[in-house]
């Protein structure tokens, strides 16, 4: 397969959640998300209840994919950081280890400089965890889907 299987386990998830919880506080941001490059939401911290996180995740992944396409045209490996400034809200988007995307939404309560500083530190920690996860996924022999039957699949559509 062209890309390794993405998986998430409890142990790594708690580590990742710890990092985003810390980041939202230390950077004084409103919300922090982690999204995989295909647009799946992995973790969130802060005031995420009033945000459509699924849509935001898919659009962020599209944004990163488009920027990656531009980078390729310019023979750059990747543009790893993006910043969008609004009237009230700002978004800082950081590609971590070319595997996942760290999104920080913040307002006037903090500054871009502080966000960038805290994101840098979080990136190093996240990079290590996602590298471990990728290794663990490769060593994973069987997924829970190895034993599903045709009936299981058919039942999904019986409504």
């Amino acid at each position: 397969m062209p890309e390794p299987q993405m998986v998430m386990f409890a142990e790594e998830f708690h580590q990742i959640q710890g990092i985003v919880d810390t980041l939202v506080k230390s950077s004084n941001a409103s919300v922090v998300f982690i999204i995989d490059k295909n647009g799946q939401l992995i973790a969130a911290a802060g005031e995420s209840d009033h945000i459509d996180t699924t849509s935001l995740a898919s659009l962020t992944a599209g944004n990163i994919a488009a920027t990656g396409g531009m980078a390729k045209l310019l023979r750059e490996r990747e543009f790893t950081t993006q910043f969008h400034e609004g009237e009230n809200a700002n978004i800082h988007i950081q590609l971590v280890d070319n595997r996942v995307i760290l999104v920080v939404i913040f307002d006037k309560k903090t500054s871009l400089g502080l966000v960038r500083l805290r994101v840098k530190k979080a990136c190093e920690q996240l990079g290590d965890i996602f590298r471990q996860l990728a290794e663990k996924a490769q060593g994973l022999g069987q997924t829970p889907f190895a034993e599903i039957t045709d009936d299981d699949i058919d039942n999904l559509f019986n409504d």
Binding site: P2, M8, S55, Q142
Partner: protein, 196 residues
């Protein structure tokens, strides 16, 4: 590429609707959106031009139910069909688990169908996938239009590998859910193979 979350017991898969410009890819997603229980779907996002042509993609998240205690979620995407948006189409195919090719049945669009199918094959290959092995279904759309080619002819031209194929009228929903179910089944079957 599917994402298996062992903690929240969820599996997420990505489906892409491909095909020539104005073949009805967005219409498929719109019909699914309108006919699905709001609890089972998220918001549909369309990144379109002012004339409602898809500029980058449409996106619709769907929850299908549980399988062996895992919630199955499908993220449906369309590509922009117009020829000059090829760079965007390539991006949307990244990490795809299953593909629906929506063909325009009108005789006048035969060449556009063939060109789009060839483009799909090339763009998938660039991402390391083969059209011959990825979960793949075809919908012959616009069967209600005048001047359509016979299904047999379309099949001969576009479906040499005999993948599941369906007649469609996406605007009224004919064949829309059959197509979706068929590709979703193939994706889940593929997951079983990959996990064995």
């Amino acid at each position: 590429m599917s994402f298996i979350n062992y903690l929240s017991r969820e599996i997420n898969c990505k489906l892409v609707y491909y095909g020539p410009g104005l073949c009805g890819k967005t219409a498929n997603l719109q019909y699914i959106y309108n006919k699905t229980n709001p609890g089972a779907r998220g918001k549909m996002i369309s990144l379109a031009t002012e004339t409602e042509r898809t500029l980058f993609f449409d996106f619709l998240p769907l929850a299908l139910g549980e399988i062996r205690g895992f919630k199955t979620r499908f993220h449906l995407y369309t590509v922009p069909g117009q020829v000059f948006y090829d760079a965007s189409r390539k991006l949307i195919l990244k990490g795809v688990d299953g593909v629906v090719f929506v063909a325009d049945s009108q005789i006048a669009r035969m060449e556009a169908n063939l060109e789009s199918m060839e483009n799909l094959r090339t763009n998938l290959a660039e991402q390391g996938y083969s059209l011959d092995s990825i979960p793949f279904v075809i919908q012959y759309n616009k069967r209600d239009m005048p001047g359509v080619a016979p299904v047999e002819e379309l099949r001969q031209m576009l479906n040499p590998n005999n993948v599941p194929d369906f007649d469609g009228v996406a605007t009224t929903g004919v064949g829309v859910f059959d197509t979706l179910k068929a590709v979703a089944k193939l994706v889940l079957t593929e997951l079983r193979k990959a996990g064995g």
